[in-house]
């Protein structure tokens, strides 16, 4: 670690730098004392969330420079006559001028404080970047302008692919690997400076995801010198940003999994693994062009989107699976003569819910600045959400699938098969939230649960996801795009759960669901091998909106190379089984409990919350509690 990197880390940890921010929303982006890239937020309040979950086409603009971008806009303007298009072009041009002006003001600031930045800003952003350093500065400029406008969850996309030409050009010019690695580490640190003021549900939920690796259409695995350096920088720095996503597949070399597992061992909650063998065919089925599907990224948490050309909104609605079951039970259990009758009622709930989502009117989104970096917005002179982007699809979370399947399995077994619980008794117990029905509740809890590789309940989950995806996937969203079903939950494991009464798996009213696509909390499964089999039975290409199987393993599993190699093998097994996405976290419950009692001893304790990692101390209590309650697989 170089002195510059150490100094930047120290500055970050001291948090003193935050005092330099202003409370004026119009304040310019600022430089912090130890600086390499500049373009920090400058404003101290968290911005309001507007447009988000988007990954820009950085490569085109940072390569060509804003002057060339302006020429493209002018050329497009010459081809169009519609007044609203011409007005849109003028707005884009003035946004670019504004960015250039911000850059010029910044250059002045940098003159004494950071000569390297001063020099770079003499060329970019007017002209394109040539060095890796200039390219990083350019990205920072674009990001700060957009974030200050309320564009949030800006992913970094396939950083190792689009930045590789700059990295290689530097190497060819004779820049040493050490110098480049310093720049990379400094850039990673810089991404952490302002994450406390970025919009998001909780601190850390800022969408700074980076995607590494991935297969091309010819079947080559694209993992280059920069990909590896990103992993190494992350290993060395121990910071929450950027969050690493690894694209893998059955032909990914073993050493990539080992490298990934070494990062898991750090306890940062990443990498998250995305399986190309499943995600790419899934996106193609949803109508994405082959070339785009091969280029997919994770937007912020786990949502599969296409960088640079898409304006999908991958989290616009949530299918609250346990609520569908609870509604069907309260409305129709008495009259349902067989389990299949009851299941048909649940199906109807799910289908009606899909219809309601499809026919609902959604708020109009509009962002000129982001449109400069998306798809055909410039050529067509159309805003990204209004025909400029190639894709404007809507994604729907699928929350609480395990709780829903567990609840149905318990009813099937106790009410319809064994007859050990009467319908009336069950309804009374649910109504009373199990108060006074402890024995009945334990009986329900003892029924088959998802995560045990038991078809009795896994088949029910498969059925529910099938109904969900069949009734949503590829349906028109009435705004030029289609719908996509997924298995994510985001914060809905709290919010949707709060709206759901007691369920027949023994879950009490309002009690939380598991995160995304995972066994219900408090369920003791047969173990991690059964879990990965339970959660790979469904054809995952049908739920390509994303949402990972989330597994917590005790940190002692990864205590040496033997444990790391075998855990890497486990991830490979998951990929071979056809899982779509895996979030593997290394955790120690005792440490978390102690951190709740003595937060002062754990200022840097990092945990994975859902699709992002954050500092444990900075999370609201329900999120802390949720992590502590997850099953931690030990030896």
């Amino acid at each position: 670690m170089t002195n510059l990197v150490k100094a930047m880390l120290e500055q970050l940890k001291s948090k003193e730098y935050r005092k330099l921010r202003s409370s004026d929303p119009e304040a310019q982006p600022i430089l912090y004392p130890v600086e390499l890239f500049g373009f920090n937020m400058g404003y101290s309040e968290r911005t309001e969330y507007q447009v988000g979950n988007v990954t820009l086409d950085y490569a085109t603009v940072i390569t060509e420079g804003f002057e060339a971008t302006k020429s493209r806009i002018l050329a497009a303007k010459a081809k169009h006559t519609a007044p609203e298009k011409l007005a849109f072009a003028d707005k884009m041009l003035s946004e670019i001028d504004r960015m250039i002006a911000i850059s010029d003001a910044h250059r002045k600031l940098a003159e004494d404080k950071c000569p390297r930045l001063f020099e770079a800003l003499g060329k970019i952003p007017r002209k394109g970047a040539e060095s890796f350093y200039e390219a990083c500065v350019f990205i920072k400029l674009i990001n700060v302008v957009l974030r200050r406008r309320g564009v949030q969850h800006l992913g970094l996309g396939r950083f190792d692919q689009y930045m590789m030409p700059f990295w290689q050009a530097d190497l060819d010019r004779g820049v040493t690997k050490e110098e480049l690695f310093e720049t990379l580490e400094a850039f990673f640190i810089a991404l952490n400076y302002d994450s406390d003021v970025y919009g998001g549900m909780q601190q850390g939920d800022n969408g700074q995801s980076m995607v590494l690796g991935g297969f091309d259409e010819a079947g080559n695995y694209l993992f280059n010198d920069l990909s590896k350096s990103c992993m190494e920088a992350s290993l060395e720095l121990n910071l929450i940003d950027p969050k690493i996503n690894l694209r893998v597949g059955k032909n990914t070399p073993d050493e990539i999994y080992v490298l990934g597992t070494e990062l898991t061992k750090k306890g940062l909650g990443f990498p998250q693994y995305c399986n190309d063998d499943v995600v790419i065919p899934g996106l193609i089925k949803l109508g994405y062009d082959k070339e785009d599907a091969y280029n997919y990224v994770v937007a912020a948490c786990w949502e599969f989107i296409i960088p640079g050309v898409g304006a999908d909104i991958p989290n616009i609605r949530t299918m609250n699976f346990p609520l569908m079951v609870a509604n069907a039970v309260s409305e129709g259990l008495v009259t349902a003569d067989s389990f299949d009758d009851l299941l048909a009622l649940v199906d109807k709930q799910v289908i009606d819910c899909c219809e309601e989502f499809i026919n609902r009117k959604y708020p109009d989104l509009y962002d000129v600045t982001a449109s400069i970096f998306i798809g055909n917005c410039i050529e067509r002179l159309q805003e990204m959400h209004h025909g400029g982007a190639k894709y404007f699809n809507f994604g729907c979370h699928g929350a609480g699938i395990a709780n829903a399947a567990d609840a149905l399995a318990a009813i099937k077994k106790c009410v319809y098969e064994d007859g050990t619980v009467s319908k009336e008794e069950l309804l009374a117990a649910l109504e009373a939230d199990f108060e006074g029905f402890e024995a009945l509740r334990n009986k329900l809890k003892a029924c088959p649960k998802m995560g045990n590789n038991d078809n009795y309940v896994d088949d029910i989950a498969t059925h529910l996801m099938d109904v969900f995806s069949r009734n949503l996937n590829n349906r028109s969203n009435l705004q030029g795009g289609i719908w996509r079903a997924g298995t994510g939950s985001a914060m809905e494991y709290l919010l949707s759960a709060a709206k759901c009464p007691a369920t027949a798996d023994g879950r009490k009213a309002g009690d939380v669901y598991s995160s995304s696509f995972s066994p219900s909390l408090d369920v003791k499964t047969e173990g991690i091998l059964s879990v990965i089999q339970s959660f790979t039975k469904f054809d995952m290409t049908n739920i390509a909106n994303g949402g990972p199987l989330t597994l917590e393993i005790h940190d002692t599993v990864l205590r040496n190379e033997i444990g790391i190699a075998k855990t890497a093998k486990l991830v490979q097994l998951f990929v071979e089984l056809g899982g779509h996405q895996l979030q593997l976290n290394s955790i120690n419950r005792d440490v978390l409990l102690d951190a709740q009692k003595h937060p002062e001893n754990y200022p840097n304790l990092i945990v994975r919350v859902w699709g992002w990692s954050g500092y444990f101390n900075e999370l609201d209590l329900p999120y802390q509690e949720h992590i502590i309650r997850r099953t931690h697989y030990s030896l």
Binding site: E438, R441, N442, D522, L529, S530, I562, L570, L573
Partner: protein, 278 residues
């Protein structure tokens, strides 16, 4: 009777293992971290975390000479679901069917390890399972080596791998800390070595008991005589005492549990023995 089946065991044999813990053990190692594995019969255990003090478990308990004993009703009526049976009667056929569910995914990358307790304590059950799994899954036995020579010889033909504990070389100390002599254990080890079966030797490093210079030196002498060039070291786990409370037992290990564990890398290298710390 097994008391636990753990999938994804990474320190119990080659590759990813499913470990089957059989109940019952002839030894009483004072540091035992699986005390529920010592007794042969089924027990009710109570998880200490999450108790709201409703006393339902006591209400449904039976009065015995040793105080209240939990019953099935206690388990049923615990609102937190904190009570459970430890130890489940199962047929070898049923157990193997369950284990074989993972045969396809573990085929190339691991197998099953029978542990305990001491697996030889349920010899017939163990052998029947090994017979059923033979050729279908890689099998290993994790043993303290304390069983009769015939049983041991037979086992060598039934499994694919053995994890063999050698704890203390001095017989008096072995008796003191484990309750039995190590004579049979060392004899069985010679059988293992001569059989040609793949195996690994493991030493639990207990502070002041087995991690002493003299014990490590004596062990190394023994290993050298027997051509052992790789040993796995299991440093004492400070959490070992945790489970005694669940069994309403006190933990009295008879050594300083806080003391530093000595790995003695210099002695092992003097004897040319490679080690891995697990």
């Amino acid at each position: 009777m097994c008391f636990s089946i753990e999938e994804f065991s990474v320190y119990d044999g080659p590759g990813i293992r499913t470990s089957v813990f059989l109940k019952g053990c002839p030894l009483r190692c004072t540091w035992c971290h699986n005390p529920e594995g010592q007794v042969y019969g089924r027990q009710i255990v109570r998880s200490p975390n999450g108790c709201i003090g409703c006393n339902n478990c006591i209400k449904y308990a039976e009065q015995t000479e040793n105080g209240p004993a939990f019953t099935e009703k206690s388990i049923e009526n615990c609102p937190g679901g904190l009570l459970r049976y430890c130890g489940e009667e199962c047929e070898p056929g049923e157990l193997c069917e369950k284990l074989l569910k993972n045969a396809s995914i573990l085929g190339k990358v691991g197998g099953v390890t029978f542990s305990g307790g001491e697996p030889f304590a349920q010899r017939d059950f163990l052998f029947e399972c090994l017979g059923k799994l033979k050729g279908k899954m890689h099998t290993a036995i994790q043993t303290c080596g304390y069983t009769d020579a015939d049983t041991f010889r037979q086992a060598l033909t039934l499994c694919d791998f053995m994890l063999f504990d050698i704890k203390i070389m001095d017989d008096d100390l072995h008796r003191k800390y484990t309750g039995v002599s190590n004579e049979r254990i060392l004899e069985n080890f010679i059988q293992l070595k001569n059989s040609g079966l793949d195996f690994v030797v493991r030493i639990p490093l207990i502070p002041g008991v087995s991690d002493t210079e003299s014990n490590i030196r004596q062990s190394c002498e023994f290993f050298k005589e027997n051509g052992v060039d790789y040993v796995e070291l299991l440093p004492y786990n400070k959490m070992a005492g945790g489970k005694y409370k669940m069994l309403s037992r006190s933990y009295d290990p008879k050594f300083d549990t806080e003391a530093q564990v000595h790995l003695h890398p210099e002695i092992f290298s003097e004897y040319g023995i490679k080690t891995a710390v697990l």
